[in-house]
Symmetry: C2
Subunit: 207 residues, 2 copies
């Protein structure tokens, strides 16, 4: 027996709530505590796999990542990294090509007057949230390629939120919409995808 | 002239949106980046003043804080700390006595089956969100004194969110409700409170 019945029940419950059509793309997010907080949030709203364009000096938690390869990067970023896949892209055009090929609409988070209130977006559609670097935000290149620009309303003196905070505010709005739409009530993965993730998750070396 | 007309306009706009009846109480939150992210979020949703019970070793950003005294702790925690007051309390009973005396309902954030979904709470009423320490969460003592227990639904493998992330998810739900209720449309401070904060904010040494 690979896993106990209780463990199997827990793993299958979580797996049946995973949302293959909700994700984030992190553009040069470089602080380990931010990456780690974003992964915990992604796990909590059912994101199956996240995307990153690493900063020049490499990913904060996975310097040895090979571009384009899913890694579990277990031992580097807290336990959420065990349960959320990471796909690394070398640059903006390749990340966009990949995500658009998968049918995602990509929303760039932008601190601009022209951006739409994040609450006005329909997150039950295939959605990728583009997050910018702590210092510079989303690049002009990526902003120009995005399908839309969204902003969280700031009613105070400070211009921007912490990036992991902004990610969570948007992702929990997506969770709210998807709960309402019943998207967590039955498996969203194809049988092949489900089986592949199940095999990885139930591997006893993961615990 | 103390401030330029543009600056005065900005300051007065923000001040007229400040919500004296929305706050957080941080119980032994001890990582500087979490405190800093929480303050940025509080500024963005219009919190006037936050509350903290410092960890044993002292507040992460304001070791020299005197209990019960509002400080601006400007130079220690990024710019949000200039615009959000901090009131320090020595322990749980004094913090609760103070907040209850001000008419707050205090909601403890708890990772428990019995806790209410955070979206079911009416945040247009005087509300304080009690946040727990990174390692231990909200203490039993504080949980027992709280008016209610709330939780953000976790649909993944990981048990908890980062504390600054959890704070933001709840506070932006409060912002949503308060926007809808029109609570940011006219000043919420008494004329005396407004004048006192205005004098502090327009002091040229603050810029
Ligand atoms: C600290 S901010 C970057 C600030 C940068 N100076 C700029 O102008 O974009 C880091 C990232 O957090 C996210 N973010 C912060 N505040 C946000 C808001 N109010 N709305 C949407 N995203 C936000 C965005 O992804 C942003 O790129
Ligand atoms: C990392 S958690 C503490 C975990 C701790 N092991 C526990 O059992 O409470 C730190 C704080 O973040 C907040 N928090 C984290 N996840 C939350 C959730 N799903 N709902 C509500 N608050 C949460 C709470 O304030 C909590 O005390």
């Amino acid at each position: 027996m690979l896993v106990t019945p209780e463990r199997e029940h827990k793993l299958r419950t979580v797996l049946s709530r995973r949302q293959p059509d909700l994700t984030v793309l992190m553009e040069q997010v470089n602080k380990p505590h931010n990456l780690s907080a974003i992964l915990r949030t992604c796990d909590a709203v059912g994101v199956l796999e996240v995307h990153a364009i690493p900063p020049q000096k490499g990913l904060p938690v996975l310097e040895e990542a090979e571009a384009g390869k899913i890694r579990t990067y277990n031992d580097t970023s807290g336990s959420a990294a065990k349960w959320v896949g990471l796909r690394v892209h070398p640059d903006v055009p390749s990340a966009f090509a990949y995500l658009k090929g998968q049918g995602f609409r990509i929303y760039a988070t932008r601190l601009s007057e022209q951006a739409t209130d994040y609450r006005a977006v329909d997150y039950t559609q295939p959605t990728c949230i583009l997050l910018g670097a702590e210092k510079w935000g989303v690049s002009e290149e990526a902003a120009a390629l995005a399908d839309g620009h969204i902003v969280i309303p700031m009613l105070g003196m400070v211009q921007s939120l912490n990036v992991s905070v902004a990610a969570a505010v948007i992702l929990f709005e997506a969770q709210r919409q998807r709960l309402e739409a019943g998207l967590y009530e039955r498996p969203r993965l194809s049988p092949q995808q489900y089986q592949a993730v199940w095999e990885a998750w139930s591997d006893p070396r993961r615990r």
